[in-house]
């Protein structure tokens, strides 16, 4: 941008003060601030500054966009819908509400091997976790282990605040609707029976959530004692202190629970379910081949036309597969570059055609 420092050293043109001065001179102070003469930088929009801006943006954005796009494309990702709405789907039988517990298995093939750490997500569609009443239907004090909130949850949790005169722990609609399908992955190798893929269930929640925000109530020896006087959420099968066998992944600090409690911004979302850690540098984590997915189908989404998915994905420096950002950068960069050219032409034409030579470059 054209810059000119405007430190004005103009001589004060006001009338001179009478010599000697009066007892109370009301002449305003001659400070740069009061006289509005603060030194200042005055950028001006001219062709000389605007056109390069467009070109530079174009030149910078396009490579960035390409980089992001390539990175995103290199990510392996597979998505399997196991809702079972399609009659041919193995999970179709689980749609009827009285088939509990219901198990189904879906076969799928990985065309390419997945290298590095692989992440397993469950995805839900048409699930309004961002609905206002849903979002607020929780009690963070309770989840933080506050003992008074445990027995007397916040009003926000209504109608999942109390059940049969006992406070619900964890209260609220979010907790109540926690995802409770179980997913297991098997590799169908050359051997006769499939190999189960080890799925790690810890390390899927934010560190701050796991260690700071969510805490089990203090008190008694066992977790069960600490949750004494509370009851499980209506939809749950097991109480909160029986979510897992490991003590550091049980109760409120169960990571599946924590992940669920971090509500999604959009009605279609995915949540981290399990980690598949890389075994060694030599073998791909998930080699190409046939797999099958064992599902314990508990979670009803059919009633509201929802969808359930299982996603396997590798990761890059900038997360999962999402070509949007790369495409956007490329598009904006190109547009900016084109605009720069158009503006250059316009500016050239107008500057030449206008007889007044006062349009500057």
């Amino acid at each position: 941008m054209a810059m000119n420092y405007n430190a004005k050293d103009e001589v004060d043109g006001g009338p001179q003060c009478p010599p000697g001065g009066t007892a109370k001179n009301r002449r305003p102070d001659n400070t740069a601030f009061k006289q509005q003469r603060l030194p200042a930088w005055q950028p001006i929009l001219t062709a000389g500054t605007v056109l390069p801006t467009f070109f530079i943006i174009g030149l910078i954005f396009i490579p960035i966009g390409i980089g992001i796009f390539v990175t995103s494309n290199n990510i392996r990702e597979i998505e399997i819908d196991y809702t079972g709405t399609d009659p041919s789907s193995p999970c179709n039988k689980c749609l009827s509400p009285n088939a509990t517990p219901c198990y189904c298995t879906i076969n799928f093939t990985l065309e390419q091997s997945f290298e590095g750490n692989v992440f397993m997500y469950y995805g839900l569609s048409n699930f309004y976790q961002n609905h206002r009443r849903y979002v607020k239907s929780r009690d963070d004090s309770q989840l933080n282990g506050d003992s008074s909130a445990l027995l007397n949850p916040s009003k926000e949790c209504e109608p999942y605040r109390r059940n049969e005169d006992k406070p619900i722990a964890p209260c609220g609609a979010i907790a109540n609707s926690m995802f409770n399908d179980t997913l297991e992955l098997f590799l169908v190798g050359n051997e006769s029976y499939p190999t189960p893929i080890p799925l790690k269930k810890k390390g899927i929640a934010w560190w701050t959530d796991k260690n700071v925000k969510f805490r089990n109530p203090s008190g008694g020896e066992s977790l069960k004692e600490r949750f004494k006087g509370t009851t499980k959420p209506v939809n749950w099968v097991k109480p909160v202190y029986m979510l897992d066998s490991e003590p550091d992944n049980n109760g409120f600090i169960n990571e599946d629970f924590i992940v669920w409690m971090r509500t999604a911004a959009l009605p279609t979302f995915r949540k981290l379910y399990r980690l598949i850690e890389r075994k060694s540098d030599l073998h791909p984590t998930l080699p190409a081949g046939r797999y099958y997915l064992n599902i314990t189908y508990n979670y009803p989404v059919h009633s509201f036309d929802g969808r359930k998915r299982m996603i396997l994905s590798t990761i890059s420096w900038m997360g999962g597969k999402n070509p949007f950002l790369g495409i956007a950068y490329i598009a904006i960069g190109s547009i900016s570059f084109l605009l720069g050219v158009v503006l250059l032409v316009i500016n050239h034409k107008y500057r030449n055609s206008s007889n007044t030579a006062d349009i500057t470059i």
């Binding site: 006001g14 109370k24 976790q129 009443r133 933080n144 107008y350």
Partner: protein, 1147 residues
């Protein structure tokens, strides 16, 4: 009421003399102030919102999102009000605690002003202000006369005489009599008419009528009177002063009106959006929400989706309330206040001789200063200094006063040395004259010259005051007269003092006493005045001065040749715009005088046709006059007036002169200060005496200026025919040349009547310069009102006297000149400056800046709130129209108040598109303000579109990016809280870059505020999302750890960069292309300025002003009739003063 009887008077329940201009006391401040504040629409709206938010079923926001901003806004206003009120309290206390002497039971007691009650008798001393409205009882002067100065009341600085009725003046200072005085006064109830009072004094069984001559009004100051006693009639709030003030109408700017309209638009827009969203919600609940009840059941009271939709309407109403920004009005007030301070601080509007800086008395009209289209100016004291300077004279056919160089050529006055008056000890040091020949003639003892100055020193009604030996102060009725007497004084004919019968003159160091036989007073018809004196040599002489047209006919035939020469000189003088008077004398023989004197006294005593008879007698005396010469007085223009007017004209500001003065003088001044120019295509004079002639004259003028405007087919005519309903505006019409128009008061009275109004307005608005002369104060206001009613323009009235007050109050902006004529105009004005030429700086620099800043502020302010709020609208489509907010509640609370307030304030306090030098050099830059181009409804719609676009970009880019996206460690980032953080950070960055783009003047403070606010946002972010705070109040601060987890995402920063570029590029492109495709004049000038600032080798030359002197003549008489009679009656003479003076002479 009865004098000296507090018990009786207290039964009537008169108020005491305490005045109270303050509005609040300590106890009622809070409720009263809050009540007043909630009367404002915006505040009331937010209060209602607050109540809505307290209903948990519909409230999507925590209560504090509204309460905190509202509290801040209210408390800022409350503090401001409180400070104002404390000042008023202090003033009141000061006034109420002044002490005054009260007569009590025969003794004089000192008491405070506020304890004075109706019926008290008080003693006032010289130079004391009058405590209350007081009936004058007696004074130190004979006949119970009292001199007062009424500057505070009506602005006139000359002394006025009040006289008590004879019964009471006998009381003198006899305390016993005074305290036993038990007169009863019945008078009218308190009113605000300064010049009316009727009452009856009943004293000792007799009734005496009282009029306003007997009343000393509060606010006056006693002058030249050692003491006087008065009976208190009206006190405190009943006094005429208090009845007159405080009813000033509150002025609002066009911008305020526009803002109100826009806020209404926003309301409608808001309502519309809420409606759409509510319907959306209804559909959603029906289609999806109903089935989603497994996980999210409806609340018990929601029976159907319709009920839910109705509730959602209100929820969205709360969420989207930030469309009407709560801090808008407060910010506007702060900006105006700041810009007012700049006016107060400007050294270039500080007038050193009077030690007065410019003063913004109202802080609410700043941006209007940048939009002025019409300036209505007073003449005397505003354009002119109201200082008359004896400039030239013609004595006995010889012209004096021009400077000559050695070759005998006339040269400019400024190059010649001033005449040295050191030979005359009594000379006024301020007087200057540039022609030595006159002094030489004086010293030589030229008979005619002596006689000329003798007549000047005798023939007048000036009073002299000599406080210190040799230092004479003249109290003149009119400044012309003062100038003449001062001239005579300097040339050696010093008028020293007068009594009712004598005039003492020091003639070239020699004291002579002339006996004053008669004063033949001035009147508007006679246009002359004469004195008859008996010289020490026992000759009876008549000296006369008057308008040349009159005096010429009275001259003795013998001096015809001299008359012709003098008339030529007079033409010369008039050509230069000087005010002229002719001076003549006549020697009368004693017998003739005796006979005449007898006739005169008969005429004076006659009961019928006294006026006529007296003027007959006068005419008998004033004939066969011998011509002495002529004087030329310069009505001095204020410094820089012509230049200022030329500059303002270039800025397309039309200047009208509204004056009470005569046509000749007004036109003269108009030419002198470039309102009329010689090269104008025509000047119309409207002086019809009935409405038909006035109409014809106006139509004639219009026909010449724009012939087609009289045709039926003219768009304005058809417009007027089709739309007869009242509130309509007349569009601008362009004439075919430069025209001027002169209209006088009589014609104006007809022209201002209903059916001629429009005729007048259309004609007058086509003229470049307009002079209205012989205007009453009311007419001045009427003209301004007319303009305001039919034209969408900003009017400015500037004046200095009490007669300008009405127009100052009527105009959009009133400017008072703190000058000669007292404080009245200043006290009623919105801005006070001390010189007319500061007007160009006030308008072109301060006004323009204020306007530009205000416009930038409003554009930006609306933009940032639209961008901020409309995000919720987009989010609604993805959150089931559930009124879920996009942002953290704390961001909503702080957005307007903390994160974005300082940058926009610094923009609107420091921004300058061009500096002061350029804005004065190119007055054309003022043009956009007059047409309100920078912020109008169109600009507002642009802001709205820009806001919609930005919010669209800012919502969908992050949304698409974050959708199904994960962190580099595989943890998902598409959760609501991360998304909020992402969107709000991107928003803040975009908004900050946007303001950076708007800022053209980057001071250090702007840098700190703009980038500092952004930095501050991140600091606050980490605080709000920190472990400690969140663990302390887990339900209030729910965003624990979000900042740490999200801010290290590469996507986050990529999104921010992308959104910023996407939001800014179109703006840059538009701003770049606009001057190319639609170049406005302003853009061209700006380009030239930028060229010049970068290549300073081309210094722009300012064209020097040529003064073309028109050939006009005017006569210097601005007297009031009747002062002569007062002098000869002796009432105004002070014996003591005379004695003292004569004593000092003897030494």
């Amino acid at each position: 009421l009865q004098a000296n009887s507090r018990e009786l008077n207290s039964t009537f329940g008169y108020p005491n003399n305490t005045i109270k201009t303050s509005r609040y006391s300590v106890f009622n401040f809070l409720p009263l102030n809050l009540f007043e504040q909630f009367q404002r629409l915006a505040n009331a709206y937010f209060l209602i919102l607050l109540f809505l938010q307290l209903i948990p079923q519909i409230s999507p926001l925590a209560w504090y999102t509204t309460v905190i901003p509202l509290m801040v806004v209210l408390s800022i206003t409350a503090v401001k009000d409180a400070i104002d009120d404390v000042k008023r309290h202090q003033n009141d206390n000061h006034v109420n605690n002044r002490s005054v002497l009260v007569v009590m039971n025969g003794r004089i007691k000192e008491d405070k002003w506020m304890n004075i009650q109706v019926g008290d008798i008080i003693k006032l001393k010289n130079n004391q202000p009058v405590t209350a409205d007081v009936l004058l009882l007696s004074s130190s002067e004979p006949y119970g006369l009292t001199y007062i100065e009424t500057a505070e009341l009506d602005g006139e600085t000359n002394l006025k005489v009040k006289q008590s009725i004879s019964v009471t003046s006998n009381l003198e200072d006899n305390l016993g009599l005074l305290s036993s005085f038990d007169g009863k006064v019945r008078c009218e109830s308190p009113n605000n008419k300064l010049d009316k009072f009727t009452g009856i004094l009943t004293f000792k069984g007799k009734n005496y009528t009282l009029d306003h001559d007997k009343l000393l009004l509060r606010g006056c100051i006693i002058r030249n009177t050692d003491w006087c006693y008065g009976l208190v009639i009206y006190t405190g709030p009943d006094t005429k002063l208090m009845q007159n003030c405080g009813k000033s109408t509150f002025k609002r700017t066009h911008m305020d009106h526009l803002l109100n309209v826009l806020v209404l638009w926003i309301f409608l827009f808001l309502g519309g959006m809420c409606f759409i969203l509510a319907i959306g919600h209804g559909i959603w609940e029906n289609k999806k929400g109903y089935y989603f009840q497994d996980f999210l059941p409806w609340e018990e009271f929601v029976s159907s989706s319709v009920v839910s939709a109705i509730l959602t309407f209100w929820s969205y109403f709360i969420i989207l309330n930030t469309m009407v920004p709560i801090s808008l009005y407060v910010s506007v007030e702060i900006i105006r206040l700041g810009n007012s301070f700049y006016i107060n601080w400007d050294r270039k509007m500080y007038y050193a001789p009077k030690n007065t800086p410019a003063q913004a008395r109202t802080t609410t009209l700043n941006e209007e200063l940048g939009q002025v289209k019409y300036v209505f100016s007073d003449k005397t004291g505003t354009l002119t200094q109201n200082i008359m300077i004896f400039n030239k004279c013609s004595i006995n056919g010889i012209i004096y006063g021009y400077g000559y160089d050695k070759n005998g050529q006339r040269v400019e006055v400024s190059e010649v040395k001033k005449v040295d008056f050191s030979y005359n000890k009594l000379a006024d040091p301020k007087f200057s004259f540039y022609d030595n020949t006159l002094v030489e003639a004086m010293k030589k003892g030229d008979h005619w010259v002596h006689l000329f100055f003798l007549s000047l020193s005798l023939c007048h009604t000036v009073m002299s005051e000599e406080k210190v030996e040799g230092k004479l102060v003249y109290q003149a009725q009119s400044p012309d007269e003062g100038a003449l007497v001062t001239a005579a004084r300097n040339f050696g004919f010093v008028f020293r003092s007068r009594t009712s019968e004598t005039i003492m003159v020091v003639e070239m160091g020699e004291t002579k006493v002339y006996q004053l036989l008669a004063i033949l007073d001035f009147s508007a018809v006679r246009k002359r005045m004469s004195v008859i004196v008996r010289t020490p040599e026992d000759r009876v002489m008549l000296f006369c001065k008057g308008a040349d047209t009159i005096l010429c006919q009275l001259l003795h035939p013998s001096c015809r040749s001299l008359r012709d020469v003098t008339m030529e000189h007079l033409d010369d003088f008039a050509f230069e715009g000087l005010r002229t008077l002719m001076v003549a004398y006549r020697e009368v023989d004693n017998a003739f005088y005796q006979a005449w004197s007898k006739k005169h006294s008969e005429a004076c005593l006659s009961l019928e046709n006294r006026e006529d008879k007296i003027s007959d007698v006068y005419r008998e005396m004033e004939k066969d006059l011998m011509l002495l010469g002529a004087t030329a007085i310069e009505d001095k223009l204020q410094d820089g007036v012509p230049e200022t007017i030329t500059t303002l004209n270039k800025a397309k500001i039309k200047i009208w002169v509204l004056t009470g003065d005569k046509q000749e003088t007004a036109v003269n001044i108009a030419y002198a200060c470039n309102i009329f120019e010689e090269e104008m295509d025509g000047i119309f004079i409207v002086e019809g005496k009935n409405d038909e002639t006035v109409r014809q004259e106006l139509r004639l003028a219009r026909k010449k200026m724009k012939p087609e405007s009289l045709l039926e087919s003219d768009p304005v005519n058809t417009y007027l025919n089709t739309k007869p309903q009242m509130p309509f505006r007349i569009p601008e019409e362009v004439p075919n040349g430069n025209y001027g128009l002169i209209i006088n008061g009589y014609s104006l009275a007809y022209a201002l009547e209903g059916n001629l109004e429009l005729e007048l307005l259309r004609t007058v608005c086509m003229c470049k310069g307009v002079i209205c002369c012989r205007m009453t104060p009311l007419q001045k206001a009427q003209v301004v009102e007319l303009m305001k009613r039919y034209k969408e323009v900003v009017t400015l009235a500037i004046g200095d006297g009490a007669n300008d007050v009405s127009m100052i109050k009527a105009a959009h902006i009133g400017i008072g000149i703190t000058g000669q004529e007292g404080m009245q105009a200043m006290l009623n004005s919105d801005y006070a400056i001390s010189q007319f030429c500061y007007l160009q700086r006030l308008l072109l620099v301060h006004g323009r800046w204020s306007y530009n800043r205000m416009c930038k502020f409003l554009s930006y302010f609306f933009y940032k709130n639209f961008a901020f709020t409309l995000m919720h609208f987009w989010y609604a489509f993805f959150s089931g129209f559930s009124a879920q907010t996009v942002y953290d509640t704390w961001f909503i609370t702080f957005y307007n108040l903390v994160y974005t307030s300082l940058p926009v304030l610094s923009l609107s306090l420091f921004d300058q598109d061009v500096n002061e030098t350029w804005s004065l050099r190119f007055p054309e830059l003022y043009d956009p303000g007059q047409h309100n181009l920078y912020f109008n409804k169109k600009e507002f719609v642009k802001c709205l579109v820009r806001g919609i676009y930005s919010s669209f970009v800012l919502f969908f880019i992050p949304m698409r990016t974050i959708h199904n996206s994960v962190h580099s460690d595989g943890k998902e980032i598409s959760d609501y809280q991360s998304f909020s953080l992402l969107v709000q950070t991107a928003l803040l960055c975009v908004v900050t870059v946007q303001i950076a783009l708007d800022t053209t003047y980057w001071t250090l403070i702007s840098h700190i505020f703009t980038w500092g606010s952004l930095g501050f946002y991140f600091c606050i972010l980490f605080l709000l999302y920190s472990d400690g705070l969140c663990l302390m109040f887990p339900n209030v601060f729910q965003f624990l750890g979000v900042a740490r987890n999200t801010l290290n995402l590469p996507q986050m920063w990529l999104i921010i960069i992308l959104s910023v570029v996407l939001c800014i590029l179109p703006v840059i492109g538009y701003r770049f292309l606009k001057p190319l495709f639609w170049p406005a004049d302003v853009d061209k000038i700006m380009n030239r300025i930028h060229l010049w600032t970068r290549h300073p080798l081309l210094p722009p030359t300012q064209t020097k002003l040529r003064h073309t002197r028109p050939r006009r003549s005017s006569y210097a008489f601005s007297h009031k009739q009747g002062f002569g009679a007062l002098i000869t009656s002796g009432k105004t003479m002070k014996d003591k003063v005379f004695k003292k003076n004569s004593f000092s002479f003897k030494k």
